[in-house]
Symmetry: C2
Subunit: 253 residues, 2 copies
């Protein structure tokens, strides 16, 4: 049985608390949150504290807070409170106060409060300062997920950048498709199967193998028609840049 | 029972032939292909012809060929051969020879020969010159798909542009994530759940609702760290442009 406390009440904290509560072999001891509104339905009021200094010793304290707050909040967690792990994709393990046994517990997923998540398939990227702590955080990760990876701070930064491309920037492409549909009285639902298939293709093909379309085919006639169609300067510029990017990759194949 | 013949032997032709062969209430009569290698396993040799003039009358002749060839190939299909429909996302219905009853039968999906497809959920965008032909092409579409939409030529062009954004350009974002993983000894599989979740989110959220990340949060510290991390000029420029695009949308919310 691993004991764990969580600092934070945002989307990541919310989903971690939900997952730990449902999991076996882990006990959620306390949640530290300045604003506890988000989590009041999840946690008994007696378990909620307002300040890190009120945290009792546990195996692992997880900081699910904004990057900027990691240094100061970890400093205010009492010494010998347990392994202290942050959940940030972009911060090195050394962002945590050096008075603790430090670790990283980074679930690589997009968290919206509005949408339920099945944690089982979410990869959790783990890092620890001391080898003996690695097995403890692995044990904790296994209570909620089947996919655990050892990822050092430099790799995690790379992964976070990659995640911005395949998540935030992909969603921005969806946004542009959504706008084009809206402007032309086309139900966005018509694009849904294509969107899903584009993502699911990667189960069997690499991105270069999966690529199709006018840019890859160098179908200049279609590319010109599309650029003429796009009146908005931002969309036009994106179309040109993405087309060139695809073509520069296609050259290397 | 609808009778249909197909001109073409590329990916779209291949998947349409496979789907019609499995479907009820439709009979595939002939396939016209200059290069029949792709389809020899699917169709009896006696059904394959090399030239459009060898096609017998059917209810609907489908041209699954490149955009550039639609005008000339449709011209060489004998008159009164049936309704003649093209499968192009970017060409107007008038690209077909005016000697025919013209229609469009555009399956909105990404077709790779390497990957099997379930046609049932693929939206088919339909257009006809004459209202009485619309019911015939709808009947044909229903034999293979549950999702049929009436989409005129202008809307279809818009849809094709939108599809390039949510498919080709999204896949290019996957490609960049794939490269960043490769350069840092990170298994690409670690990004797969995030990629799927990003696509599946759209079942319950609109793209603006689904957006997260440093650009949306205007987390300049992380954005700067990411730009410093990206050594490649193309990736750096894309990161900047996509970040600005997300922020310009976030302003409008």
């Amino acid at each position: 049985m691993t004991t764990v406390s969580i600092i934070g009440s945002g989307n990541v904290a919310f989903h971690l608390i939900s997952a730990f509560k449902k999991a076996a072999n882990v006990e959620l001891i306390q949640v530290c949150a300045r604003n506890s509104k988000n989590i009041e339905k999840l946690v008994d009021p007696s378990q909620i504290v307002s300040f890190p200094k009120a945290l009792n010793p546990v195996d692992i304290v997880i900081l699910a807070i904004s990057d900027d707050a990691i240094a100061s909040v970890s400093e205010s967690v009492p010494e010998h409170c347990g392994i202290v792990a942050h959940t940030s994709g972009s911060m090195p393990i050394t962002e945590l106060s050096a008075k603790h046994r430090r670790a990283v517990f980074y679930p690589l997923q997009t968290f919206s409060a509005a949408k339920a998540l099945d944690f089982a398939s979410i990869p959790i990227c783990l890092e620890s300062e001391f080898p003996e702590d690695y097995s403890k955080i692995t044990e904790l990760a296994r209570t909620i997920s089947n996919a655990n990876y050892s990822i050092n701070s430099f790799q995690r930064k790379a992964l976070h950048v990659a995640a911005v491309f395949v998540n935030n920037f992909v969603n921005e492409m969806y946004q542009i498709g959504y706008e084009i549909c809206g402007e032309n009285q086309i139900p966005f639902a018509i694009l849904q199967p294509l969107i899903l298939e584009t993502a699911e293709k990667l189960k069997t093909l690499t991105p270069p193998e999966a690529q199709t379309g006018p840019a890859k085919r160098r179908d200049q006639k279609t590319i010109t028609t599309h650029l003429e169609f796009l009146q908005n300067e931002n969309k036009k510029r994106l179309y040109e840049i993405m087309t060139k990017s695809i073509q520069s990759h296609a050259e290397k194949l």
